[in-house]
Symmetry: C2
Subunit: 427 residues, 2 copies
C-alpha cells in the first residue's frame, strides 16, 4: 500500500524529503505499514522544473495546482513555498478538496490560522504545522499531548535563531549590533532587510501559534507586543554581565487572573537559568506549569534537515490517523475564549539604563521619580561619569505594566535625563 503525497514547492526544505524518506524507510514501513510516495511536485515555472531535474530529482513536476486537486490518489498536500500567497489559496483549495495538509508556514498560520483551521474542521481533514515553530523542536505536539494534564502559567521562548545568533555574538564576543548583523547577513542567517528577525516580528508570529497550544487562546499579531534588539548597546551587554545576566530576545506569554499577556522583548536572563545557555541559532521553549514545574525543550530553530524532519513527523501522524480512521481531529483541541490580561496584573522586574548630568543631586531626582510610582531598586550600578554625563543602571523590584509605562514617560519628560534602554528581567 502506498500513500501519495504532493509537494507545493521544492526549495531547500522540500528537496530534503527524498533523502529523509530513504534514511527512515525501514522504520516508516514498520510503523505505518505503508510506503510514502512523492507523487506530484508543484513548481512555479518550467525553469524551476529544469533546475530540479538538473539537481538530479525526477518527480512528476506540475505547474498547475489543479493537477493536484483533481488527483484523487493524493491524500496529503505538503506546502513548503512559504509567504502568504499563493500558499493561502492553495492550502484552502486542498482542504476544501478533502485533502490533508502539512505545512511549515509560520506567517500564514499566525495570520490566517483561525480561518484555515476552521476550513480543515469543516472538511474533516488534518492541518498540521509542527515545523512552523522552532523548526526541529517538537514543541506543538508535545504541548497538545503531554501538557493536556497540566496547567501552563508561563512560557518563555528563544524562538528566533537570527537574533539569538546576533545576541550570542554581542554577549559572548562583545560584538556591536552592526557587526553582528553584518556577519549574520554574510552567513545567510539574516536577510538584507532584517526587520522581521531583529524587531521581534517573527518571534511574535511564533508566540501567537504557541499561545493556542499552551494556553488555548488565539492571539492576533497585534495582540503580541514586540520590541527588538536594534537599540541594545554594548554598555547594556556589559552591565548585564556585571550583574550576572545575559541579554536575549525572549518571547513570553504569561497567564494572570485577568487573562494572558504576550510580548517579545530584549530580556535579562540570569546566567543560572537554563535559557541562558541557548546559544547561536539554537532555539528553546521554557515552560512553567503547575504540574511539571519547570521544563525546557531545546533544538535547532531552522535549517533544511530539522524542518523537513518535523514536516515528516506531521505526515506520519496524518497517515497514522488515516490508518486509525480518526482523521479530522484538530492538531490542538484546547481552545478558550481569548482574554487579555489587564496591564496592572502583569508584573516583572525591569532594567533601566539612564543617562543623567554628572552632578550632585541627580541621583536623588531619579530616586524620586521611581518612588513616585512605588518602585524600589534591587540593584544599582553607576558607571564613572566623564564630569558631564553619567550612566546609571537600575534593576527594579517587580513593576506592573502601568507603573512601567509611567516611569518611562516620567523619565522621558525630564529634559536632562535620557532613558537609554529599559528591558525585562527574568528571575
Amino acid at each position: 500500500m502506498t500513500i501519495n503525497i504532493a509537494l507545493l514547492g521544492f526549495g531547500t526544505v522540500g528537496s530534503g524529503l527524498p533523502e529523509l524518506l530513504l534514511e527512515n524507510q525501514q522504520k516508516l514501513e514498520m510503523i505505518l505499514e505503508k510506503k510514502i510516495v512523492i507523487s506530484k511536485v508543484l513548481l512555479r515555472n518550467q525553469e524551476a522544473i529544469e533546475q530540479a531535474r538538473a539537481n538530479g530529482f525526477d518527480y512528476p513536476f506540475v505547474l498547475s495546482m489543479n493537477e493536484i486537486l483533481q488527483d484523487d490518489s493524493i491524500s496529503i498536500v505538503v506546502e513548503l513555498m512559504g509567504r502568504l500567497e499563493p500558499a493561502r489559496t492553495y492550502i484552502s483549495q486542498a482542504l476544501s478538496a478533502g485533502k490533508n495538509v502539512v505545512t511549515a508556514n509560520k506567517d500564514l498560520l499566525a495570520i490566517h490560522g483561525t480561518e484555515l483551521r476552521a476550513l480543515a474542521k469543516e472538511n474533516h481533514v488534518a492541518l498540521y504545522y509542527e515545523a512552523a515553530v522552532a523548526g526541529g523542536i517538537p514543541i506543538l505536539r508535545t504541548l497538545a499531548n503531554s501538557y493536556a494534564s497540566d496547567k501552563i502559567t508561563r512560557l518563555l521562548g528563544v524562538v528566533n535563531g537570527t537574533s539569538n545568533f546576533m545576541m550570542s555574538k554581542m554577549v559572548e564576543e562583545a560584538w556591536s549590533y552592526d557587526e553582528a548583523l553584518q556577519v549574520a547577513q554574510e552567513l545567510g542567517y539574516a536577510e538584507s532587510d532584517p526587520t522581521n528577525d531583529v524587531d521581534g516580528i517573527d518571534a511574535g508570529y511564533k508566540l501567537a501559534i504557541l499561545s493556542e497550544f499552551a494556553f488555548g487562546m488565539s492571539l492576533s499579531a497585534s495582540e503580541v507586543q514586540h520590541s527588538g534588539i536594534r537599540e541594545i548597546d554594548k554598555s547594556d551587554v556589559e552591565i548585564a554581565q556585571q550583574l550576572g545576566y545575559v541579554i536575549k530576545l525572549v518571547g513570553e506569554i504569561v497567564e494572570v487572573e485577568s487573562g494572558i499577556f504576550a510580548e517579545v522583548s530584549p530580556t535579562f536572563i540570569p546566567k543560572t537559568h537554563p535559557l541562558s545557555s541557548v546559544s547561536g541559532v539554537m532555539n528553546a521553549v521554557f515552560i512553567e506549569s503547575l504540574g511539571i514545574g519547570e521544563s525546557m525543550f531545546y533544538g535547532p530553530g531552522a535549517g533544511q534537515k530539522p524542518t523537513i524532519t518535523s514536516v515528516l513527523a506531521d505526515i506520519i501522524r496524518v497517515v497514522k490517523r488515516m490508518n486509525d480512521g480518526t482523521i479530522g481531529k484538530s492538531f490542538n483541541e484546547y481552545s478558550r475564549k481569548t482574554k487579555l490580561a489587564k496591564p496592572e496584573n502583569v508584573k516583572n522586574k525591569y532594567y533601566f539604563s539612564i543617562e543623567t548630568p554628572d552632578s550632585t543631586g541627580q541621583f536623588l531626582r531619579l530616586v524620586k521619580i521611581f518612588t513616585s510610582e512605588d518602585a524600589s531598586f534591587e540593584q544599582v550600578l553607576q558607571q564613572k561619569g566623564d564630569g558631564k554625563r553619567a550612566i546609571v543602571a537600575i534593576i527594579c523590584h517587580s513593576l506592573n505594566q502601568v507603573q512601567l509605562k509611567n516611569i518611562r514617560e516620567k523619565l522621558n519628560r525630564e529634559v536632562d535625563f535620557s532613558l537609554l534602554n529599559s528591558f525585562k528581567v527574568i528571575y
Copy 2:
C-alpha cells in the same frame, strides 16, 4: 459520561491525582468530553485506609484486587505501588481482564517490560508508562511520535536525580562524595542504602526503557553496563574544572554499524554542552539524530506533582484512544531485533587519573603503555608531586572499548602505578 479509573496504591504520588484532576477539570472535559472519576483505590490494609481517610480523602477504598478486576465499570487501572511484586501480578491480572494500565513503575518495566507489553498486545489494551523515565519530562511519547521521522544515533541522559544532586554539590560546592551523600539522605533524595542511585542501576533501568523508544531495541538490565559515582575523588572534580569540564553520571546509548551500546558512567561533559547546566535533581535527555541534529528535553526527574502529571497525560491518551476506538495500539511501535555493538566499534575519549612514583622516567613508562595501544594524548596535566608520588591526569583521543580495556589492564599490572579513575569524555 464518565471514565472510571482504579488506583493501586495511594502514597505520595497517587494522592496528588485528585488535586491535579481539579486543576485541569475544564481543559480535560473540553479535550475528552468525559469526566475522569477515581472509582476505587486499592490499599494494603485497613490501617492504610484509616490513614487516607484521616488525610481527608474519601474514595471507595478496597483491600482486594478482585474487587477491581471484577468491576466492569473500571476501564483504566493506574499502578502506583512501585517495586516488582505485587505490582507485576496485579498489572498482569488487569491486562488479562481487558483493562488498560498506566504505571510509573520503572523497575518493573525495565525488568519485565517485554512480558507485560506482550500481554497488553494480546488483550488489545493499552500499557503506558511515561512517568517511568525522567518523571516530569514527556520523553517517551515524544520519542514515539516526533522522532518517528528521524534516525537517532546517540542518546545521553542525566536521568538519576539523586546522583545528579550529589554531583552538582561535588562540582559546584566542592563537597566530598560522603558529604553529598549525607545531605542527599537528610533531604530524602537518597535512601539509607543508596546503591541503586549512586551505582547507576536506576539510570540503567531508565536506559533500558529509553532504548526501546529511541532505537527500537530492548535491552536486559545486564546488557546495560554501569559504574557509579562512589569512587569520584575531589581531585577528579578539580581536574575536570581545570580542563573545562563538569563530571556527571550520564547514561549513554549509541548506535554504530554493528549494533547498540548502552552504559551508565561518570562522564566528563564540556562546560559548553547543554547537559552541563542540568543541576540538582533536574533530569535531561540529549539526543543526536540525523534529521533534527541536536535536541534536549529538560525537566524534573521525580517528585509528586511532575510524576502524577505524566501519569495523567497517559490516562488522557488512553481515554482519547477509547474515544477514537483505537485502543490496543502499542505505546511504542518501533521494534527491531536487538544487536549489541562490537566493543571495537564503540569509541570515546577517556580521562585517566594515574598515581605514579614521583621520579624521572615514570612519564615515559606511561606514554609507552598508551602508545602500545595506539592511544595518543589530547590533554595532560601533571599535578606537583610530593617527592614520592605524583598524579598524572590524561585525556586521550578516541579509544575503542578494546583499547580502553587493555590500557586499564596494563596500568593495573604495573606494581608502582595506580590507576585511580578512568571516565568517559563527551565532546
